[in-house]
Symmetry: C2
DNA sequence: ATAGATGCAAAAACTTTGCGAAGCC
DNA sequence: GGCTTCGCAAAGTTTTTGCATCTAT
């Protein structure tokens, strides 16, 4: 099954609808390997649907992220970047220009090796973040009660 | 040599001055293991220097970061969090409340092992970002010319 | 004495939200 | 037809900047 149909089905499962705008946000993102920001994506989609608003792009990116169809790369300064490739890989971000490129890795443990292999980049560091639920939140199964500090 | 003196020396080397505000931002951050946001740090420092402004806290955090004395944890949604521990370690961030805790690792390759060891957390994922200079920026040694997309 | 830092306030950068109109199923 | 999504505009959140004043060296 094509990726587009797959995502359409996922959207329908959630009671959502596949609008022209939503499809385009998805398609344009998938056609790029540049990990665009929401603003950049907005500019690109606007070439095809001139009336689209930034809010729609943000809303659709969030929805597609919630469905697990896009990655949010909110590392580093500046705006969040998006990635339609959700299979395991990590990223290299330029500390000067903000450019982000893919680094294929099979496993997190390969990250150090990957760094060594990026010979055309000057790798100066590597950051790792594990994520999940802390003990308090894991135990607090009531989703209504957000612990202090939540957003 | 004490950490405080070490940092003071670094600041002086850059032609900077160790003001009351700067020292406090540093000291308060170092006294916490909660990885506060700039706002939280501002509130805490304000207890000791009631006239300090948020701008000063931001400016000092940026300077200390440039000196390599604090880490910026700008993972995830919401404001950037700061960390005075710059020795190698990684972080676990709660996807519900935003809490960030330290996870000591000797090497990036240990990340997967660390995940397994965080038995009181419910780890659902792990992200890795390498950083450094991309080929274009590495070659462009003229710091005046920022490539497109830079910030 | 003087370059660098501060405090204030305004602005910038990025993202979310409210609401009435329009469109998908 | 009904509920979702859209476009617009306004507001929210986080961070940066301009400028006159102050201060560490």
């Amino acid at each position: 099954m094509a990726r587009a149909e797959e995502i359409t089905k996922l959207v329908h499962q959630q009671g959502g609808r596949m609008t022209r705008q939503r499809r385009l946000v998805m398609e344009v993102l998938a056609s790029l390997d540049t990990h665009p920001t929401a603003q950049e994506l907005y500019e690109l989609v606007r070439e095809r649907v001139p009336t689209i608003s930034p809010a729609t792009v943000y809303r659709n990116l969030k929805l597609l992220h919630d469905l697990g169809c896009v990655l949010e790369l909110d590392y580093g300064p500046g705006p969040t970047r998006y990635d339609a490739t959700v299979t395991d890989h990590c990223h290299a971000r330029c500390t000067r220009c903000g450019r982000v490129v893919d680094v294929p890795v099979v496993d997190v443990a390969d990250a150090a090796t990957a760094a060594a292999a990026m010979s055309d980049w000057l790798i100066t560091g590597c950051r790792v973040e594990l994520y999940g639920l802390c003990p308090k939140c894991r135990d607090a199964n009531n989703r209504k009660t957000q612990p202090e500090g939540a957003r």
